[in-house]
């Protein structure tokens, strides 16, 4: 039986880790290599690193730092941020990253993504879709640059990415990022039902019961969280942490 993956999502800014609220308000968390070492000791299922400035500032991934992280990391390691072409993708895989996460590139002509999928296989590619409710309470796909996109419906967009061959789809919610008020169950359920690939639920987790909720009620294949693994206690003191396996197993199969 396949265990439900529990994945800390760590945000890179320059050489440090930060945590955001609703994709803004950054708090400094600490050193990424130290975080990897802690998560090694905790025997975490998988790690996701996202460089939150790469696309915005149009810079390439920090290959040197990522290579250090991948080498330290004894668990699967996915990375997203500033991967805009085949060459960058190839370089990242060659330095030891298992899976590549694409967001901005999903909104570009599909040819480059197709080339990456054809060469490296679907298993290597995660399509990351950010969703946000608009003024009328309707979910829309949100691109960082705020650009007009033709397909606004997250379900249609996720299905299209599925058809293009991405191996997994990660759904993050701008509204719930850093809020620790539960996952976006309703939309996640629609997307997970519509696609054939695993869906990674992100944004909103506060506790293990949120994991159970999104797996059982939305059909998520994996659960990701940021705040829960970098903050501790009611006052949200910075402390990198991960629950004991026996605790997780009380909630997840």
């Amino acid at each position: 039986m396949l265990r439900t993956r529990v994945i800390p999502v760590l945000l890179l800014k320059n050489k440090g880790l930060v945590k955001t609220i609703q994709f803004k308000t950054e708090t400094y968390i600490g050193d990424p290599i130290n975080a990897v070492k802690i998560f090694n000791d905790k025997e975490v299922d998988e790690l996701i690193f996202l460089d939150i400035t790469a696309s915005k500032e149009k810079h390439l991934p920090n290959f040197e730092l990522l290579e250090q992280l991948a080498t330290e990391c004894f668990m699967p390691f996915s990375y997203g941020g500033g991967i805009n072409d085949f060459e960058t993708a190839q370089k990242l895989l060659s330095i030891g990253i298992e899976k590549l996460i694409f967001n901005s590139l999903l909104f570009e002509p599909i040819v480059e993504l197709r080339k990456i999928i054809t060469n490296f296989g679907s298993s290597t590619v995660i399509g990351s879709i950010d969703i946000k409710k608009n003024f009328w309470g309707k979910y829309q796909v949100y691109s960082h640059s705020g650009r007009e996109i033709k397909i606004k419906d997250p379900v249609i967009f996720a299905k299209r990415m599925n058809d293009e061959g991405v191996g997994e789809i990660m759904i993050a919610s701008v509204d719930r990022d850093g809020m620790m008020n539960g996952y976006e169950i309703e939309m996640l359920e629609k997307i997970a039902t519509a696609v054939s690939v695993p869906v990674i639920a992100c944004s909103g987790a506060k506790s293990l019961s949120d994991f159970k909720d999104v797996v059982e009620n939305a059909g998520a294949s994996a659960v990701a969280a940021g705040s829960m693994f970098v903050y501790h206690g009611k006052l949200k003191g910075v402390l990198i942490n991960f629950p004991e396996r026996t605790e997780i197993e009380k909630y997840l199969k």
């Binding site: 039986m1 004894f74 668990m75 699967p76 296989g121």
Partner: protein, 206 residues
């Protein structure tokens, strides 16, 4: 000396690092024919697509030396993930021929149940269907490893099967025939069990 063959197909640093952590420092990542010629053991890694891997291997010019080391010198070899799949003859994923050291095909997962997602991705159990040196010092039938693949290795000779995993069907997740070993999962990304498995491979008396 253990040589991790670098033919441009992914994750090598963590294999090296994990081996070093278990105490084996005589490990190299290399694409140099002479270095591979001198290896006591060979690790064949790989992530990505079958044809891409075989074409890269061809272009690297390393196939003759690998054939010689494995088929003639009987140097122990461990294929990891796609590195295991290319030990076989062919794959449904592509048109290129595999290395053909083992009599096996690589086939795609096919499920009628839409809930069964492809790729098979995540931590799953490996059932040791027979005792094998790679599983030494591990909890019997409770070994959990990290998988990520859409195709699986299908031996035409069941004798080589040492481990099986269930995902919709039961498929071969570990094999051993003579000095040739293969694992579908990623030991270098599987914490303590992965570390133990790599240690076991490193300790094989060639």
């Amino acid at each position: 000396m253990i040589v991790i063959v670098n033919y441009g197909m992914g994750n090598l640093g963590s294999i090296l690092n994990m081996l070093k952590k278990t105490g084996f420092t005589d490990v190299l990542i290399s694409k140099d024919e002479k270095t591979i010629q001198e290896a006591d053991k060979i690790i064949l890694p790989g992530v990505g697509a079958f044809d891409h891997a075989m074409l890269n291997l061809k272009q690297s010019g390393l196939i003759p030396v690998l054939n010689k080391k494995v088929m003639h010198d009987k140097t122990p070899v461990l294929g990891i993930c796609l590195g295991m799949q290319i030990l076989g003859k062919r794959s449904e994923e592509g048109n290129e021929e595999g290395l053909g050291w083992l009599d096996a095909d690589v086939v795609k997962f096919r499920f009628d149940d839409p809930q069964k997602k492809i790729p098979h991705m995540g931590w799953n159990l490996v059932k040791d269907v027979k005792s094998n040196i790679l599983f030494k010092n591990m909890p019997h039938q409770e070994m959990r490893f990290y998988f990520v693949h859409s195709y699986y290795f299908k031996p035409n000779n069941n004798v080589m099967i040492t481990g099986e995993t269930n995902y919709g069907i039961s498929f071969t997740s570990a094999i051993n025939q003579d000095h040739i070993y293969g694992v579908q999962f990623h030991p270098e990304k599987s914490h303590k069990f992965g570390m133990q498995l790599l240690k076991n491979f490193a300790e094989i008396n060639a």
